[in-house]
C-alpha cells in the first residue's frame, strides 16, 4: 500500500493550511464477481484518522461508494511545528500510516 501526504513545509502560526492524502487501495465494493462467478469480498478502507502532534483533527469513515485509490483533502489551522500523521485500516485488517512534518513560524 503506497500513500502520499501533501501539506506545506512551512506555515505561519494561525494560517489555514491545506492537507491532502492519496492512498493506493482497490476499494473493492463487495458487489463484484470474479471470472469464476464467485463474489469478491468487500475490502475498503473503512476508517481513516489524522493526528496533529497526537491530537486527532480529522476522521473519516469510508464505504463502498468511494472510488479506488481514495483521495481526501481538508483544511486546518497551523498551530505548532510537528508531525501530521494519518492512519487507516481496511476490511481485511491491513493497517497503513503515513506522516509528514510541518514547521510553524510566528
Amino acid at each position: 500500500m503506497v500513500a502520499r501526504v501533501q501539506l506545506p513545509r512551512e506555515a505561519k502560526s494561525g494560517e489555514v493550511i491545506e492537507i491532502r492524502i492519496a492512498i493506493q487501495h482497490p476499494m473493492e465494493t463487495g458487489f463484484r464477481y470474479d471470472l469464476a462467478g464467485k463474489p469478491i469480498p468487500r475490502n475498503v478502507i473503512n476508517s481513516l484518522a489524522c493526528r496533529y502532534n497526537g491530537v486527532e483533527i480529522f476522521r473519516a469513515e469510508l464505504g463502498s461508494g468511494i472510488a479506488a485509490n481514495p483521495y481526501l483533502q481538508f483544511y486546518t489551522l497551523a498551530e505548532a511545528s510537528g508531525e501530521i500523521e494519518f492512519s487507516w485500516v481496511d476490511d481485511a485488517g491491513e493497517r497503513g500510516s503515513e506522516r509528514a512534518s510541518i514547521a510553524v513560524v510566528s
Binding site: 503506497v2 502520499r4 501533501q6 492519496a22 492512498i23 493506493q24 482497490p26 485509490n69
Partner: protein, 280 residues
C-alpha cells in the same frame, strides 16, 4: 492582383507536382520509386494535426492529469521508485545498482520504445525490456505482465521522459515490424468488423455515444483509466478495444501487440509523453 498571384502559385505548384511525377515515372531505379511512394503514402496516414488523447478528454480529467498530487497514477510512480531501489535476485541487485539515478539514466528512454533488441533481434517494448533485465541481469523471479510491480516500474521509467516527444525511427531493421503493425491497424476484426483506423484515423473528433473518438495515441501509457480504477498498460488498452469490437483478444505481451505499439509510436511521433496519463 493578389488573385493572379495565387493562381500563378497554384499553377507553379501543379506544374512542379506534374514534373516530379513525370520524373519519377521515368526513374531508372524502380525500387527507389516504390520506396518514395510508400513513404509518402505512410506520411498521409498520420493524423493532422496530431492531438494527444488528453485533448479529447473532459476538463475534470485534464485537471486530474495535470495535478501531480491528485493524479492517482502518481501512486504507481511512487511505488515504482521504491521498486527501483529494491534489491532482488541471486546477486541481490536493484535497478539502481546498475542504472543509478533513474531521473538521469532513464530520461528520454521511453521516447524510443519499442525498439529492436540487439540480443534477440526481436522488437521489444518497455515492459519487455524490464522483464528481460530482471531475468537476465538481476536473475530474479520474473514479473508477470500487467502485475502491479511491472506496471509501477514501467510507469516510473516512462515517467522520466514526461514532456519529451515520442521519437521512434523506422529503418530497414524494424520495417517489417512496422508494416505488420500497420496491417493490424487497418485490419477489420471482430463481430463488429471494425479496424482501429475506422475510429481513430478516419473518424477522430466525432462522437461515439457519449465518447469523443480520440486519435488513439499511446503517449500517456501506462495510464490511469477511471474505467479500470487502476493503472494499466497499452496492451490492456488494446485488449479493451478488441473486446469492444467483439474480437478475439491476444495475450499480454503478444508480438503482434508490440508491432502495433511500434506503428502507434511512429504515428504519435512528436507528441509528448504524459505517463502517468489519466483517461476515462
Amino acid at each position: 492582383m493578389t488573385g493572379d498571384w495565387f493562381a500563378h502559385g497554384f499553377f507553379c505548384l501543379a506544374l512542379r507536382v506534374f514534373l516530379t511525377g513525370a520524373h519519377l515515372r521515368l526513374c531508372a531505379v524502380p525500387s527507389l520509386l516504390v520506396f518514395a511512394l510508400t513513404a509518402s503514402a505512410a506520411e498521409s496516414q498520420r493524423p493532422v494535426p496530431s492531438k494527444s488523447g488528453i485533448e479529447f478528454a473532459s476538463a475534470d480529467i485534464r485537471a486530474l492529469q495535470q495535478d501531480d498530487f491528485a493524479n492517482p497514477g502518481m501512486l504507481w510512480i511512487v511505488r515504482g521508485e521504491k521498486l527501483w531501489r529494491e534489491a532482488a535476485g541471486k546477486e541481490s541487485n536493484s535497478c539502481a545498482s546498475c542504472h543509478h539515478d533513474a531521473q538521469a539514466s532513464m530520461r528520454g528512454i521511453a521516447t524510443r520504445y519499442p525498439l529492436l533488441d540487439p540480443g534477440t533481434a526481436r522488437l521489444i517494448n518497455l515492459e519487455g525490456r524490464i522483464m528481460q533485465c530482471r531475468e537476465r541481469r538481476q536473475q530474479a523471479e520474473p514479473l508477470r505482465y500487467e502485475s502491479e510491480e511491472l506496471l509501477a516500474l514501467t510507469a516510473y521509467v516512462a515517467h522520466q521522459s514526461r514532456g519529451m516527444p515520442v521519437n521512434v525511427t523506422i529503418d530497414w531493421q524494424n520495417r517489417h515490424n512496422f508494416e505488420a503493425g500497420r496491417a493490424l491497424y487497418y485490419r477489420r476484426v471482430g463481430q463488429l468488423n471494425l479496424s482501429c483506423a475506422q475510429c481513430h484515423a478516419e473518424n477522430w473528433g466525432k462522437q461515439l455515444g457519449p465518447e469523443t473518438l480520440s486519435q488513439g495515441h499511446g503517449n500517456a501509457y501506462p495510464a490511469y483509466r477511471l474505467e479500470w480504477q487502476t493503472v494499466g498498460s497499452l496492451h490492456r488498452r488494446f485488449r479493451s478495444c478488441l473486446s469492444g469490437v467483439r474480437a478475439e483478444m491476444l495475450p499480454y505481451g503478444a508480438p503482434q501487440y508490440v508491432d502495433l505499439e511500434l506503428y502507434l509510436a511512429w504515428r504519435a511521433n512528436g507528441l509528448t509523453i504524459e505517463t502517468p496519463g489519466v483517461r476515462r
